[in-house]
Amino acid sequence: MSNNKLTVVDREGKSRDLEWEPDQTLMEALRDNDLPVLASCGGTASCATCHVFLADEVFDTLGERSEDEIELLVEAEGYRECGSRLSCQLDFTKDLDGVTVTLAPEE
């Protein structure tokens, strides 16, 4: 499967394009491309340092968030009921080719 293209808007508001490889979660794609995503729990939905925003229409196409994910996100800086996701919980799918991901503010 070919890579996805992603546009990432960092915390300074700068955008950057990068490649998302099929065996990466979205968090891994961000982290391995040197974006400041701490991912301090290694992707186990425990820390919320991988919090990102997605556009409504993209968010709506994704599956339900787990209870842990919701509880962590609700308390996160800048939480959006529609739009906030833990990027470690998003596996590669072709549906997410070309999307824009915005890094949520740091705590």
């Binding site: 065996d23 982290r31 391995d32 040197d34 400041p36 701490l38 301090s40 729990c41 290694g42 186990t44 425990s46 820390c47 919320a48 209870e67 842990d68 509880e71 962590l72 609700v74 308390e75 996160a76 740091e106 705590e107």
Partner: protein
């Protein structure tokens, strides 16, 4: 030796000893922070560096693949020009010439050295500890050995009811083993949590068929060719085919001690990860440092600390601002129930239970001088992040309000007009 200036590299690489969570995070952090000089990662293990938490959780599940969860893909090290020497250890550090002697006999010079050698399972020392069938759990190899031994019907004795022992107990029970946990104290996880949380997890394990023996001082492991039984001080004999010791860890500090770096059950470091030699840093499980919250000397064995210290070291080496200090936190999963802790609890903290343990989801907060010091959340994370912030802020908490789980933790700061803002919070970090 040339003077070391932050962010300046004198031609020699940064050498990182140990490719666990912390060592890999230093290497990655240096690149993220724009370090262009060489990075040499000495990896005492052979395979691509991997995550340890799954070793006692997912990996032990029946039917789970034996593959490890790697920290970073192999390609990452190439892409980031991180020279990783697999299966090579640092044997000695020569601080005079700033060189490291490697296990293959070669020497490599450094500008800065980072000791990230982690910790090892504290070995059992009672007679019979070396018998086949006696296990410890630290590496993937350990985990795979253990997994092969945990066959349905096997009698498993776990020595030590810390989080590793309990995670393995849960995994073994799920695989159909008959599990007995032998613990010296009178409750599980007594070092890290309070009685209500201990009792909750004891019940959970008992419901899953696990038997506990408290006050159990193991005196010997006996057997003809392999472990057959565990004997405790009162003379009780516990038949066992498999024994797992989960009795804590020891810091891998020898290479530092021998080089004359200050160590005291851990390599002593300051808030930036610096050791007593300005060219040498240490991070992760191997370090001991003063808590930024209250100055207590501590060694923390958790991923959060391994990562946070690594980032501070990477920041210091590159001459950049580190991220804000973070309240330490930790998690464990047993029978699918997650306990997540923030802050470091002291045994004499006031304990307030939020919610009803009997319903399977609750939190416990710990107050020191009336201020939030730590939290344990069980099967829910709603209080986790608010608690982290309130702990960092040193917030006063009204115990009566906090006992009501319907009131968000952030609304439990006392509603007393005679208290000023300065009384209500006194930033801890």
């Amino acid at each position: 030796m040339p003077d070391l200036q932050p962010g300046i590299n004198n031609g020699q690489p940064v050498i990182i000893v140990g490719a666990g969570h912390s060592g890999v995070a230093v290497a990655a952090g240096l690149r993220t922070r724009g370090w262009v000089g060489g990075i040499l990662l000495l990896d005492g293990e052979k395979e691509t560096p991997y995550e340890r938490p799954p070793l006692s959780k997912e990996l032990l599940k029946s039917g789970a693949p034996d593959e490890s969860t790697v920290l970073r893909k192999e390609k990452f090290y190439q892409d980031k020009r991180i020279e990783r020497l697999a299966g090579i250890t640092a044997e000695a550090i020569d601080r005079q010439s700033r060189t490291v002697v490697l296990s293959d006999g070669s020497r490599r010079g450094y500008d800065r050295l980072v000791v990230a050698t982690g910790s090892r399972a504290r070995p059992l020392t009672v007679p019979g500890s070396g018998l086949p069938g006696v296990h410890a759990l630290r590496t993937r190899e350990d985990a795979l050995d253990l997994k092969r031994a945990l066959v349905a019907g096997t009698r498993v004795a776990i020595i030590g009811a810390g989080y590793i022992g309990l995670e393995v107990a849960a995994a073994a029970a799920a695989r159909g083993c008959k599990v007995t946990v032998l613990e010296l104290q009178d409750r599980v996880m007594s070092r890290v949590t309070s009685e209500p949380v201990s009792r909750f997890f004891e019940q959970l394990h008992e419901q899953n068929g696990i038997r506990f023996v408290f006050g159990a001082a193991v005196t010997a492991i006996e057997g003809q060719r392999r472990a057959e039984r565990v004997v405790t001080a009162d003379g009780t004999v516990h038949p066992a085919d498999v024994v797992l010791a989960g009795i804590g860890v020891l810091p891998n500090q020898e290479v530092a001690t021998e080089a004359g770096l200050e160590c005291r059950d851990g390599i002593l470091v300051d808030g930036e990860g610096r050791t007593s030699d300005s060219a040498i840093y240490a991070t992760g499980d191997v370090t001991r440092f003063a808590s930024p919250v209250d100055g207590t000397s501590q060694r923390l064995e958790c991923i959060q600390n391994a990562q946070a210290q690594a980032d501070r070291v990477a920041a210091h080496i590159t001459g950049q601002q580190p991220a804000e200090p973070e309240i330490p936190w930790f998690w464990t999963v047993q029978h699918g129930v997650r306990l997540q802790t923030a802050g470091v609890r002291h045994p004499d903290d006031d304990v307030i239970v939020r919610g009803t343990p009997a319903v399977g989801k609750f939190a416990v907060i710990y107050l020191r001088d009336g201020r939030l010091a730590a939290v344990d959340t069980v099967a829910g994370l709603a209080d986790f992040r608010p608690a982290k912030k309130l702990i960092a802020a040193g917030a006063l908490i009204d115990p009566a309000l906090a006992a009501d789980p319907r009131i968000p933790l952030t609304d439990t700061i006392p509603n007393d007009p005679s208290l000023t803002d300065a009384d209500l919070v006194s930033a801890r970090i």
